[in-house]
């Protein structure tokens, strides 16, 4: 108190008009910019995003720039080890693996994105209708969901690949048909959760229509969750294609995918001379899935920073304890 008094204290009143009450107080926090900020502050998220972007760029440009065609065989240079000429070596018929891997990544990425997005959108629309309408509509849609969940997706897959031929589009359609149920159920649940919230009620009282409310008022509220689950289903779709390739129902040749490449590589997994045929596609597909998966995790952390804070503190506490233990010693 005494020290304070030594400073000249200026008791002249401040004109309330000049003083902006909101100026010093906390700036109002907007949701999404804040999420982005948190996301990009996370180095892991940056790394994952970097990997994803790098893969997308390589998938687009590497085959364009490469001096080899992905489907051009060269019977004089079969099973070539990785070298400067062929970064990932050549396969059993002398095709350049570098080009093939990135052409395969194209297909895998496309299938990953579209295969995650399409069933999701279809499921979201159906789920929204189901949740919003309720009653018998809901009943019927949910029963159809249950039934379709029980029918093995192999049947749709083969059927669609038969009709459409093994192309990326066919894979996406097949995934849309066999995967929309999960997203529909999820979305329905969300709609039900928000249907009777106050803000929805308010919008309804103002005369907003059903779909408008769903898309203008409810959707933004669940956008975060959607982003996280989408990030999670991209690797799922890539895996599904890889699994179908293992069964023998993938993208048709000469087009290829990472799933195709890694499954055909697994046959020569044991041969030192062909190990690179397995190694590179497997690494690329694993990295891709890892990046999407971790990015999804980071996004979740960014959307809900509580968990991250918890972790931060837990680590802090342990560090403190360790320091104390050291100090005692």
């Amino acid at each position: 108190m005494d020290t304070q008094k030594k400073i000249t204290l200026d008791f002249t009143p401040v004109d309330p008009g000049l003083k902006d009450a909101d100026q010093i107080v906390r700036p109002s926090v907007r949701y999404w910019p804040e999420v982005w900020k948190r996301l990009f502050q996370n180095k892991l998220a940056d790394v994952c995003l970097g990997i994803i972007l790098l893969m997308i760029l390589l998938a687009i440009f590497a085959p364009m720039v490469s001096s080899y065609q992905y489907d051009a065989t060269d019977l004089l240079h079969t099973n070539g080890k990785p070298c400067l000429e062929h970064l990932f070596g050549t396969d059993t018929t002398g095709r350049d693996m570098w080009t093939r891997v990135w052409v395969g990544a194209r297909a895998s990425l496309l299938i990953g994105f579209l295969g995650a997005l399409t069933p999701f959108v279809i499921g979201a629309v159906i789920g929204a209708i189901s949740g919003w309408c309720g009653g018998w509509v809901d009943m019927v849609i949910m029963r159809i969901c249950d039934i379709m969940l029980c029918i093995p997706s192999m049947i749709y897959m083969i059927l669609i690949l038969m009709v459409m031929g093994g192309s990326v589009q066919a894979m996406v359609v097949a995934m849309a048909i066999s995967n929309w149920m999960g997203s529909a159920r999820n979305f329905r649940g969300r709609i039900l959760q928000f249907k009777n919230r106050e803000f929805t009620l308010a919008a309804r009282l103002q005369g907003a229509g059903g779909l408008r409310i769903v898309f203008r008022h409810i959707l933004p509220n669940i956008l975060g969750n959607i982003a996280v689950s989408l990030c999670g289903s991209v690797p799922g779709a890539i895996f599904m294609e890889a699994g179908m390739s293992y069964i023998g129902l993938g993208v048709t040749p000469p087009r290829t995918s990472l799933g195709q490449l890694s499954t055909s590589g697994i046959g020569s997994f044991l041969l030192p001379s062909q190990f690179h045929l397995f190694l590179y596609p497997a690494i690329v597909i694993s990295m891709m899935i890892f990046a999407f998966f971790m990015f999804g995790n980071c996004l979740r952390d960014a959307l809900d920073p509580r968990l991250r804070d918890e972790e931060y503190n837990a680590r802090r506490m342990r560090k403190l304890r360790r320091q104390m233990r050291k100090a005692v010693q």
Binding site: M154, I158, I289
Partner: protein, 305 residues
């Protein structure tokens, strides 16, 4: 309760019937002839067999026959593997798949949950980081790659376990491990998140305010509540596991149903595929039913009606 069970049973039957019907017609949409496999030139023989199995009859007649047999729980004989009855295949190989699935669940789910609990309790520690790494690894590496790595590591290099076959417990180790790693990763991840979510609930603070010890709070309040949501997905998961995994069964030469499932559709083995689909539908419906019942028992907030 009895009324609820009756109602659910009726719905289940209707569901199974719908699935069977849908699959019956879907499978017939697949192009090809089931008898033109090994000797593609023998059309006459194929036609003879089509007649013999009644596949040239009008579709609705075949459908009615199929429903009739279904009512007797008789799935008929395989088209591709003469003499093999579908019922027998299920009776012989479902136990194998079930054993593998149960072993994988008995190992995978508790391990996953335990790891999840530990890593949520010691967030950010070495254990947590390694658990997360395991999760990422098993999620990012395709299962066939992982299986091959295991074979190479544990069979060829170390010689601990056989690389394939099905004779004694020793043979089940690697496929079980492969199957359960996914479970461990999934349950660890879910449990960790759920534990952290429940950890922020007010009632844990209440428990703390009562002066309870950390262990008691974690066991009696946190874990109990975190486990409940895990139950909901278990139904489909158990059913999925019980139908076997094509990849694992093929790589480890396990005589399970999963392989039949894929090959029968590929081979256009109508009777086998339909029989297995209906069987799977029953398993899924039953598993969901049981899980719902269990949920009603375990979670007092859920009312069965």
């Amino acid at each position: 309760m009895a009324k609820y069970i009756c109602k659910r049973l009726l719905i289940s039957l209707a569901t199974i019937w719908l699935i069977a019907t849908a699959c019956f017609f879907l499978i017939r949409l697949l192009p090809g002839n089931p008898f033109l496999v090994a000797n593609p030139l023998d059309m006459t023989n194929a036609e003879r067999l089509m007649d013999y199995y009644g596949l040239n009859d009008p579709l609705w007649e075949q459908y009615l026959r199929f429903l009739g047999n279904l009512a007797h729980l008789d799935f008929g004989y395989s088209l591709a593997h003469a003499g093999r009855s579908v019922n027998e295949v299920i009776a012989l190989y479902f136990p194998v798949t079930a054993q593998l699935a149960i072993q994988a669940m008995l190992f995978g789910i508790p391990t996953g949950i335990l790891l999840g609990i530990l890593s949520s309790y010691r967030r950010g520690s070495g254990l947590d980081v390694s658990a997360q790494m395991l999760t990422i690894l098993t999620t990012a590496i395709p299962s066939y790659v992982l299986a091959a790595i295991f074979q190479l590591l544990f069979s060829v290099t170390l010689g601990w376990f056989p690389a394939g076959g099905w004779a004694s417990m020793k043979y089940t180790v690697l496929p079980t491990l492969c199957l359960s790693l996914g479970l461990v990763a999934g349950y660890c991840r879910s449990m960790r998140t759920l534990m952290l979510e429940v950890g922020q609930q007010d009632y844990l603070r209440t428990a703390k305010a009562k002066g309870l010890s950390d262990l008691r709070i974690i066991f009696f309040h946190q874990i109990r509540n975190a486990l409940l949501p895990l139950l909901t997905n278990m139904g489909l998961e158990i059913a999925g596991l019980l139908m076997g995994s094509y990849v694992i069964e093929r790589i480890f030469s396990v005589p399970g149903l999963g392989k039949y499932f894929v090959t029968s559709i590929n081979e256009l083995d109508y009777t086998m595929a339909l029989g297995l689909v209906v069987f799977q539908a029953c398993v899924v419906v039953a598993a969901n039913f049981l899980v719902d019942l269990l949920y009603g028992v375990v979670d007092p907030r859920v009312k069965l009606d």
